[in-house]
Amino acid sequence: MASNHALPVDLVYIFLVVLSAVMTLGIFATIAVFGLKYRRRHGREAHQIEGSLILEITWSVIPLGIFMVLFGWGAVIYFHERTPPRDSTEIYVVGKQWMWKIQHQEGQREINELHIPVDRDIKLIMTSQDVIHSFFIPEFRVKQDVIPGRYTTLWFRATTPGTYHLFCAQFCGTEHSGMIGQVVVMNPSDYQNWMSGGTIVGSLAQNGQTLFQQLGCSTCHRFDVQGRGPNLTGVFGKPVQLQDGRTVLADENYVRESILIPTAKVVSGFQPIMPSFQGQVSEEQLNALVAYVKSLSQAPAGAAGTPTNNPGPAANQ
């Protein structure tokens, strides 16, 4: 089994295959037996039968019962698949026609390859810069559409080192079938080596911090005194009170939307003066900004391998 999701999925699948085989063969066998027994012969007439309420109830209720078991079973797996553990290692993914771009927290970037350590919970935070794609690792039994304009997430824990296929499963144009790559699952030591190779220009959050200065975010969002925008320390992951009375959770999609369409959700007590950065930042830069805003609320999270050099508010002064 290549991932934590593979076994549960395969178990229901096997159950379904057996169930279907029994059902299909049952129906086929019944028809075959009837075909032999009740084949038209001289002198034997059909026996008219109106129907049977008891039978109708039986063959409605039994399938319904089996279906409810399957519903529950499938739902539990799905619930698990859609609820990433809190301390997962986060990796950002951008889909584009026709490649996968990967950004690790520590600053590594890859194209069409995803290197991860074995036995660690990995959460992919994914978006697309053009059309809808779908991130699919068959051996892990996971798949998630990657949608422009928002983040979707996918999590798994690889359980066996090795190289696995990565496909795009949602039709995305000419080279859809070429939008493939591989997931390399490594032992902790190999992973350490891989992480320390190559030249890295700072972690994702540090890049975000640089952007935060360059784009002038820091002129409004200050950490020392109250600026024209809210102090972003500790915002991420907490509920935010909006001007129109709603409360929303400040998750990745919220931060993303705050940067691209600031007027969609205006924080209570502030003027809607923040300019939209739509079209001015690339998806990768957006990821860096989001990672930075997140880092302002985190005690150093269990980042993969190397301890993250978390730029706190202090680094900003």
Binding site: I27, V76, R82, I132, K143, H176
Partner: protein
């Protein structure tokens, strides 16, 4: 009503008038049905040609026969032609059109001219679609997902979208005509409880056509407007939502699956009693399950979107409802099988198709249960598993039903019998070819082969199953071509059928074959339930075989 057989001179709907005008301006539901038959058969071969190219391309892992863009157009147009121009009109517009008035003892549909109008609308739509094909085609998949279709594809999305938009009106009008006809035109004594199940199923289909089709029509117009006027409904960079399109699309396109399968169930519900010489087991349950399917079928659309980023809880609700909609389909399968119990079974061609339908639809339905199971769907969604599943339903179900129905009512439509031996042979070939084509795709899907892949050279291990599939497709093609040949042959050389060669119940058999223009010389008065097979003698030919 049964007339003495003087087959040659007798006036019927075919020889009542001659000349092309008498066909193009006819309001006779039976002639319109034949106009539809010719048009959808032509479209079937267009769609089949695309399928052929798809299968040939996939024979080898490398993308070597077609260009990537050409391949993408092939599967897109295969899907669009087969769904919108063949399957949706197939049984309703041909067999439904021909038979519903006769089955309820009416002279025609409620609105004969609107009936002709729906055919003309279909022709305009099909013409526009063909023009789209010849001007370069479209590559969005049959699903038109945004923002690919609205902003990125540079193929003829507008023409294709408009063609399907127009075709929608044709099915709305057909649905409307059927609903009004069934309500208003039943002969005296033809109560709802005496309606043949064929009519019940078509009634359910018509309701879906009426309620669902406007939604797809509007949705495609929105895509066209987004392309032309940059509306920003689906474009995320303007605050639009690309996933909204999927909700709208599937709100119609899931029920559309039932537009395609319910009429097939209608056919099977007639064939099985006839060749078992028995009334249908559990008439009320079979009738009501059609209505149940039509109603619940509108509440399950987001099961196509479990990995499209919908909320966790809505996924749970849609999974639950999808399991519910499987129950009425199961009820039907069990009742058809039970109908054979203690019957007097004959395995003539239509019966072979009906039994094939039961088998393949069972597999199609059960694999639908796989897809309703959330955890499993995440893995097999958008893979060949889904392709196999819906071909079991759409081809194994809908097309086999269509072929079965065409054979069953061919003597009524043409007055001639097709050669029985060839008929059975073709039915067996279709069954074998079909399974060989599509069963391997279940395995490919679980192995992870995504759909719409032009090139799988990084996964050469998938070739074996693909070769099987292509081989099966060529057998299937033979199975499709055979009936074309022998049915055309029978038009001239087939044995004269007589009014009721199967000794079937139902008013359509109580009138000459081919029927006169207004079906019945005098309006029949119905005094019995449907499927009173105990009162019917055994058919001649078949009782001869021992």
């Amino acid at each position: 009503m049964a007339t003495v057989a003087v087959p040659v001179e007798q006036k019927n709907y075919l020889n009542a008038e001659y000349g092309i005008r008498s066909w193009l301006f006819t309001t006779d539901h039976k002639r319109i049905a034949l106009l539809y038959l010719v048009s959808i058969t032509a479209m079937f071969f267009v769609g089949g040609f695309f399928a052929l190219l798809i299968r040939l391309e996939l024979l080898t892992p490398a993308g070597d026969l077609l260009l990537a863009d050409t391949y993408n157009k092939m599967f897109s147009m295969h899907g669009q032609v087969m769904v919108f121009f063949f399957l949706i009109p197939s049984i309703p517009a041909v067999l439904g059109n021909f038979l519903i008035p006769m089955m309820i003892g009416a002279k025609d549909l409620a609105f004969p001219r609107i009936n002709l109008l729906s055919w003309y609308i279909y022709i305009v739509a099909a013409g526009l679609y063909l023009w789209c094909i010849f001007s370069g085609g479209v590559d969005t998949g049959w699903t038109f997902y945004t923002p690919y279709s609205s902003l990125f594809s540079n193929t003829h999305v507008i023409e294709a979208g408009l063609a399907i938009f127009i075709a929608g009106f044709s099915s709305i009008l057909t649905g409307l005509n059927f609903v009004v006809t069934v309500h208003r035109m039943r002969a005296p004594g033809m109560t709802w409880g005496r309606l043949p199940l064929f009519v019940w199923s078509h009634y359910a289909t018509s309701i879906i056509m009426l309620l669902g089709t406007p939604v797809i029509a509007i949705t495609l117009v929105l895509v066209v407007l987004e392309r032309t006027l940059n509306l920003g409904i689906f474009d995320p960079s303007r605050g639009g939502d690309p996933v909204l399109f999927q909700h709208l699309f599937w709100f119609y396109s899931h029920p559309a699956v039932y537009i395609m399968i319910l009429p097939s169930m209608a056919v099977v519900s007639e064939i099985i009693p006839c060749f078992s010489r028995k009334r249908v087991f559990g008439y009320t349950f079979v009738a009501m399950s059609s209505i149940g399917i039509a109603v619940i079928g509108f509440l399950v659309w987001a099961h196509h979107m479990f990995v499209a980023g919908i909320s966790l809880y809505s996924a749970l609700v849609f999974s639950f409802l999808t399991f519910l909609v499987a129950v009425p389909s199961a009820i039907k399968v069990f009742n058809w099988t039970a109908t054979m119990y203690k019957g007097s079974l004959s395995f003539s061609t239509p019966m072979l198709y009906a039994i094939g339908f039961i088998g393949l639809f069972t597999i199609g339905g059960l694999t639908g249960v796989f897809l309703a199971t959330l955890g499993v769907d995440v893995h097999v969604h958008d893979t060949y598993f889904v392709i196999a599943h819906f071909h079991y339903v759409m081809v194994g179900g809908a097309v086999l039903g269509f072929l079965g129905g065409m054979h069953f009512w061919w003597p009524k439509i043409t007055g001639r019998l097709y050669p029985e031996g060839w008929g059975r042979l073709a039915a067996v070939i279709v069954f074998i070819g079909f399974n060989l084509t599509f069963f391997p795709q279940f395995i490919l899907g679980y192995l992870g082969m995504p759909r719409r892949y032009w090139d799988y050279s990084h996964m050469p291990e998938w070739q074996g199953l693909n070769v099987l599939s292509t081989a099966g497709a060529s057998i299937l093609a033979v199975g499709y071509l055979l009936p074309m040949v022998y049915m055309l042959w029978s038009l001239r050389y087939g044995k004269i059928a007589g009014d009721n060669p199967w000794q079937a119940t139902g008013l359509e058999w109580k009138t000459p074959s081919p029927p006169p223009t207004f079906n019945f010389d005098e309006t029949p008065i119905v005094t019995e339930e449907a499927y009173e097979y105990d009162k019917m003698p055994l058919p001649e030919e078949v009782s001869l075989e021992r």
